[in-house]
Symmetry: C2
Subunit: 453 residues, 2 copies
C-alpha cells in the first residue's frame, strides 16, 4: 500500500532539532583547536549553508521558493506499507518504509545536494561557479552532479580510486552527467601528492578523497565544498524525510514504535528520526544500524576527531573509530566512514537511540527477501536497515505484538547490482573491524584540551 501526500503537503521548512534537544551538543573545532566560527567555514561553504550549520535557535528553517519548487519535482516521496513482507514473515508487526529511491539520482542524498547547489548558485556574483566533493560508490557524486546541472554549476568529484576502478557505474553516470571525476589520491592536490609519494599504489579512502576536496575548496575562490553527511546542515535538509513520514503515518493513524535506518555518517538516520524526537513516546525506539566493518557507535570512542584523513576539515565531537582507521572493504561503500554526526552521537550517548551491528551477508540476505516480496531492490546500504527490520518483526511475532515499524529505504540498487550477483554466487564474505586496528587508529586522535572549547 502506497501512502501519498498531496503537492501542497510538501514541507515549507526544514526542522532544526537543536532548540528541542534536552542535551548539549559539543561544538565543532577549527584547526586552531578552538570552537569553530563562521570565518573558519567561509572558504568551504556559502553564507546560507554556514548559517544553517551553526544555527541553534530557530526550529523551522524556511525553504526558499525556487528550491521548494525543485523539491516538488520529486517530493513528497511515497511511504509504503510492506504488507507482502509482513505476510511473508507472518508477523503481526505493521512495517512502513519511506522510499527515497525515486529521486532523480535514486538516492536520498539528492535532498541536500540540491539545497547546497541552490545556495552556492546564489553567490554567483561573488564568483562561485563550482562545487567540489568526495564520493565513494558514487551515489553522493551522482546526486551532486545532477544538482549542479540544475543551477549551471561545474561539478568536480574526487572519487575513491578503488571505486573509480571497480564500481564503475557511479563513475559512468557522473561523467554522463558532465561532472569531472578524479580518482583519489590524485596528483592535483598537495594531500594527494603526499600520499602517492608515500604509497604510489594507494587505492584511496573516503577520508583521503575528502581531504583532497577540502584542499581544492580552500585554495580556490570560485569553488565551494559540498558535504554528503555528518554536518548539521546536511541532517537539516534530510529532515524532509521524517517530516513527510510523520504526515503520512498520521494519514493511516499509525504512530511508530520503532524507527530504523542505516548509519554511515548519520544523515539518513537523522533525517528520518529527528521529526519524531520531540513527541516521542517513552518506549519509542530509534535503531541506527551499523556495518560490522565500521561500527562507529558500537565500538568507537566519543571524542573530538577530524572528519578527513588529512586533517583539513573541522574536528567534531563524535563517536569515531579514528580518522586514520581504514575499514575492511564492503559493498556498501558509504558506510565505510570513521565517524558519526555529533547530534546523533549525543543522542546515542544519552541513550535516546540504540545501535545495532549487522554483517553484509545478513544485509544482502534480508534485501533479497524484501526485493522478492515488495518489488523494490534496495542498495547494499539500505539493506542493513532491512535486516534490523526483519529481526524486529520476528520479535513481534514471538511476542505476538502488533508494533509499528518505520524504516528508511534510502537508495535504490542502480549502482550496485553486481553486489547481489556476488552474494548469490557465494563470493561475498562478512567483514569485521578488527579491535587491534581500531586501537591503533585511536593513537592518532587529536589531543584537545577541554579549556579551549
Amino acid at each position: 500500500m502506497r501512502i501519498t501526500l498531496q503537492d501542497k503537503d510538501l514541507p515549507d521548512s526544514w526542522y532544526n532539532i537543536y532548540p528541542d534537544l534536552e542535551f548539549t551538543v559539543p561544538p565543532p573545532l577549527g584547526a586552531h583547536g578552538f570552537s569553530l566560527k563562521y570565518d573558519d567555514l567561509e572558504p568551504l561553504a556559502s553564507d546560507s549553508i554556514i548559517r544553517q550549520e551553526l544555527e541553534q535557535e530557530e526550529q523551522e528553517i524556511v525553504i526558499p521558493k525556487p528550491l521548494r519548487d525543485l523539491y516538488s519535482e520529486y517530493r513528497p516521496t511515497p511511504l509504503f506499507r510492506a504488507e507482502r513482507l509482513e505476510k511473508e514473515l507472518d508477523s503481526p508487526a505493521r512495517i512502513f518504509y519511506k522510499y527515497e529511491g525515486s529521486s532523480p539520482s535514486g538516492s536520498y542524498e539528492f535532498n541536500t545536494a540540491i539545497a547546497q547547489a541552490y545556495y552556492a548558485s546564489q553567490y554567483k556574483d561573488s564568483g562561485i561557479t563550482c562545487l567540489v566533493t568526495a564520493s565513494g560508490n558514487g551515489e553522493w557524486g551522482v546526486s551532486t552532479a545532477i544538482a549542479c546541472n540544475f543551477f549551471n554549476l561545474q561539478c568536480k568529484i574526487y572519487m575513491v580510486k578503488s571505486a573509480y576502478e571497480d564500481k564503475v557505474f557511479g563513475r559512468y553516470l557522473m561523467e554522463l552527467l558532465g561532472a569531472e571525476v578524479i580518482p583519489s589520491p590524485s596528483t592535483i592536490t598537495n594531500a594527494g601528492r603526499k600520499i602517492l609519494a608515500r604509497d604510489p599504489d594507494c587505492s584511496g579512502s573516503l577520508g583521503i578523497a575528502l581531504g583532497e576536496a577540502y584542499e581544492e575548496a580552500f585554495s580556490r575562490a570560485d569553488t565551494k565544498f559540498a558535504w554528503g553527511t555528518v554536518m548539521n546542515h546536511v541532517l537539516l535538509h534530510q529532515t524532509l524525510i521524517g517530516l513527510e513520514s510523520r504526515a503520512q503515518l498520521k494519514r493511516v493513524n499509525a504512530d511508530p514504535d520503532i524507527c530504523i535506518a542505516t548509519v554511515g555518517g548519520g544523515s539518513g538516520f537523522g533525517g528520518l528520526i529527528f521529526p519524531f524526537y520531540k513527541k516521542r513516546k517513552r518506549d519509542t525506539r530509534f535503531i541506527a544500524v551499523e556495518t560490522a566493518a565500521a561500527p562507529s557507535l558500537s565500538k568507537g570512542r566519543y571524542t573530538w576527531d577530524y572528519t578527513d584523513t588529512e586533517k583539513m576539515g573541522p574536528m567534531l565531537k563524535m563517536y569515531t573509530l579514528g580518522h586514520s582507521f581504514v575499514p575492511p572493504g564492503i559493498r556498501a561503500g558509504g558506510m565505510r566512514y570513521h565517524g558519526i554526526s555529533p547530534v546523533i552521537s549525543t543522542l546515542f550517548r544519552e541513550q535516546v537511540i540504540e545501535a545495532k551491528i549487522c554483517t553484509q551477508r545478513q544485509a544482502f540476505d534480508a534485501a533479497i527477501t524484501f526485493s522478492r516480496t515488495e518489488g523494490y531492490v534496495p542498495s547494499p546500504e539500505s539493506a542493513y536497515a532491512i535486516k534490523a527490520v526483519i529481526d524486529e518483526a520476528m520479535i513481534c511475532k514471538q511476542e505476538n505484538k502488533r508494533k509499528n515499524i518505520l524504516f528508511l529505504l534510502s537508495t535504490n540498487s542502480n549502482l550496485d547490482i553486481t553486489a547481489f550477483r556476488d552474494f548469490l554466487a557465494g563470493s561475498i564474505e562478512d567483514q569485521h573491524a578488527q579491535d587491534s586496528q581500531i586501537n591503533k587508529a585511536m593513537e592518532d586522535l587529536p589531543q584537545i584540551s577541554q579549556d579551549k572549547v
Copy 2:
C-alpha cells in the same frame, strides 16, 4: 514542473481502442492459416487475457480491484514539464514527458506484466503455477519476475544468449528476484536444440527466445506465456499511460499537438497515443520513432507474418521486416524486433501516425542533453523518442510556434549505463538495417491465401 494526479484519479478501466477505430484491423491467424480463435490461444494464455486479446466491442475494460490496488502502489506516475530542456533549447515549445521509470522495475513494461500475472494467478485452481517469457536486455524479464513474485507464480525467462552473456545486469536482477533465467537458444526445447544443431555458436535473437518460450507454454499445462508487446491486450494494459497523461495535461490546460514515443513492438507508443486518438485535432501528430537498425514501419512490408523465428505463435498482419530478419546489434535491444502491433500498423497505413528513423548515436546524444538538463537518465530505448522531441522543438523555434509536445520516457537507465560510457568513449557506431538483408528475409514470409482469413 511535476504534474501529479491524486490516488483517486488512477483510471478504473483500460481503454480499448477497437470500438473507436475508423478502420478494420485484420485478425491474427493461427498456424492453420485461418483467423485465430479462442482455442488457439488457450494453451498460451489465461481466459481473461484471451478475451481481452479478442475484444472488439467494449471500449472500457474494468480493472479488477486487487490489480488496481497494485497499480496504485506506483501509479498515477508523474508527468513532467521539461522546462530546463526547453530553456536549454531556447524553444517556445512546451515539452511534457510521462515518466514510467518510477515503477518497481523502472519500466513501463511492469504495467502489463502485473496484469498478466494477476490473471494467471486467478487460475491456480486449474493448475497454473508459472509464467514463461522471452527477454532481450532484461527490462521485460525484470518486470515479469517482480509481477510473478507478487502472485507467488514461478517465473521462467528465455534470455537472448548474447544479452545473457554481455548485458548481465538484467540477468543479475532477474536472478536476484528469484526467476529462472535460461540463455537462448537452449537445449531444453526442440526449437533450441534444432537451432544449436545447425549453429552451435548461435548467440540467439528475440525471435528465437520467443519460439522457445512459446514451445514451453504449449507443452506444459501449468505454464502460461507472458507477452511483452505487440499483442492487443498488452497495448490495452499500457493505455494507463495515455489515460493518465490526458488527465494531467488537462490540469495545465494543454492539448498535445505532437505525441512521440519510441516503437519496438509498439506497446509503449500505443499506450501513450490511443487515449488521444478519438478526440484528436485535425493536425495532431503522432510520431513513432524507430531505430535505423530495425525500421519496421519505414522499411517493412505490410503483410501477415509470424511473431517468432520458429513460427510457433500466431501470425499477425503488420509492418514487418520478416521474422527471419536479424537486425544489426544496437544497445536498445528491445527495439530489435521485426514487426509492429497490428493496430499501430493499421494506423500507420491509414496515415494517422508517422514514423521517423533515428540512429543510436543521435539517440544517445539527445539523451545526454536531456539527462544534463532534466536530471533523469533515460534507457537507450527511450533516448530515441528524445531525439525526435528535440528535433520538433527546434522546428518550433525556427517557426516561432508554441506547440505542446508530449512524449513517453518509458524506462530508466538502470540496466544499461555502460552504453552511455561506450558512447562517450566514441566506441558506439550507427547501425543500419541493410536493404539486401530485408529483401532476403521477405522471401521467408508466409504465403497467406486471402480467402482463408
